[in-house]
């Protein structure tokens, strides 16, 4: 459960990640070609219509928090992680192992979010104002206690986001493995329907959406140059 190998043969969850990334890249490159061939007065049909309407909903959701140049800079990254997480959490329905049930993949998401938030801090607020926020804050005479608390709070938010994903997915994988080992193959199909609907579809999609919303809100707070 807790193995991630850097050198040596790849763990099954990393192989799942590579398969998901290549399938999604191929799908969206084909959709992009079809969208770029539309003229401005055509209506899209079929699968392009589904993707375009989904994209419009997400862009309106992001546009409430980020405007203008920030939307162009951070919008594609947020849409990408939403689609990747929604696919990666439900890929257990197709027989592969869920990528996020490996501690290394969840930690990778935490590190990416940590670097993104600190980059947005330094770009939109500058070093002086950031240090002022950490050290002085709102009540200036409590700074011996507030400095460690603020510093830990900077790191702990992305780490919590990654561990939330990891915990949900690994509990689903462990309970599925235990139930499948206890039943024979015929009863396993009936039990598998309930298990996969609850753990993969319901929890997986909701946790992906929660990760996306938390990234969006933290990013808009960090990039708020007021």
């Amino acid at each position: 459960m807790l193995d991630f190998k850097i050198f040596g043969p790849l763990s099954p969850q990393i192989v799942s990640t590579l398969i998901v990334v290549s399938v999604l890249a191929l799908f969206f490159i084909i959709i992009g070609f079809r969208v770029s061939k539309l003229k401005a007065t055509d209506t899209p049909k079929g699968i392009v219509l589904v993707v375009v309407s989904f994209f419009e909903i997400i862009r309106n959701l992001i546009g409430e928090q980020l405007q203008g140049k920030k939307l162009k800079l951070f919008g594609p990254y947020l849409f990408t992680i939403l689609v990747f997480l929604m696919t990666a959490n439900t890929i257990a329905l197709f027989g592969l192992k869920a990528p996020l049930s490996n501690a290394g993949v969840a930690l990778a998401f935490s590190i990416i979010t940590l670097f993104l938030l600190r980059f947005a801090d330094l770009k939109y607020k500058g070093v002086k104002k950031k240090v002022h926020n950490i050290v002085i804050g709102h009540v200036w005479w409590m700074f011996p206690i507030m400095i460690p608390i603020n510093l830990i709070g900077e790191i702990s938010t992305p780490v919590t986001m990654g561990i939330r994903l990891f915990g949900n997915l690994v509990s689903g994988a462990v309970i599925s493995a235990m139930v499948y080992a206890a039943l024979n193959w015929a009863a396993g199909i009936f039990a598998g329907v309930f298990l996969h609907v609850i753990f993969d579809i319901f929890f997986g999609v909701i946790q992906a959406f929660v990760f996306f919303m938390l990234s969006l809100v933290n990013l808009s707070m960090a990039a708020d140059s007021s």
Partner: protein, 92 residues
């Protein structure tokens, strides 16, 4: 009274072997899941407030349900920490 406590500690120190440590691991894993009380109370409170809001304004039911799901999933994190500790104790 201190005699019995010393006798218990001496007996624990002489009888410490692998079966005892495995048993204590499983006992700790069971106690760790008691942390599930927190999300139970918190998410139940959130669901109650959501039902009250739907009763007050039935047209906004879709948005209220979506907001309830997202905030309940947020409050579930600390219960998951307890489950993670229990899984690490049992399987590794």
């Amino acid at each position: 009274m201190f005699d019995t406590i010393f006798a218990a500690i001496l007996r624990f120190a002489t009888e410490y072997n692998e079966f005892f440590s495995n048993g204590m691991r499983y006992l700790g894993a069971g106690i760790a899941v008691v942390a599930g009380i927190g999300p139970g109370i918190g998410q139940g409170y959130a669901a109650g407030k959501a039902a009250e809001a739907v009763g007050r304004q039935p047209e906004a039911q879709g948005k209220i349900i979506m907001t309830t799901m997202v905030t309940a999933a947020l409050a579930e994190t600390t219960g998951l920490y307890g489950l993670l500790v229990a899984l690490i104790l049992i399987f590794g």
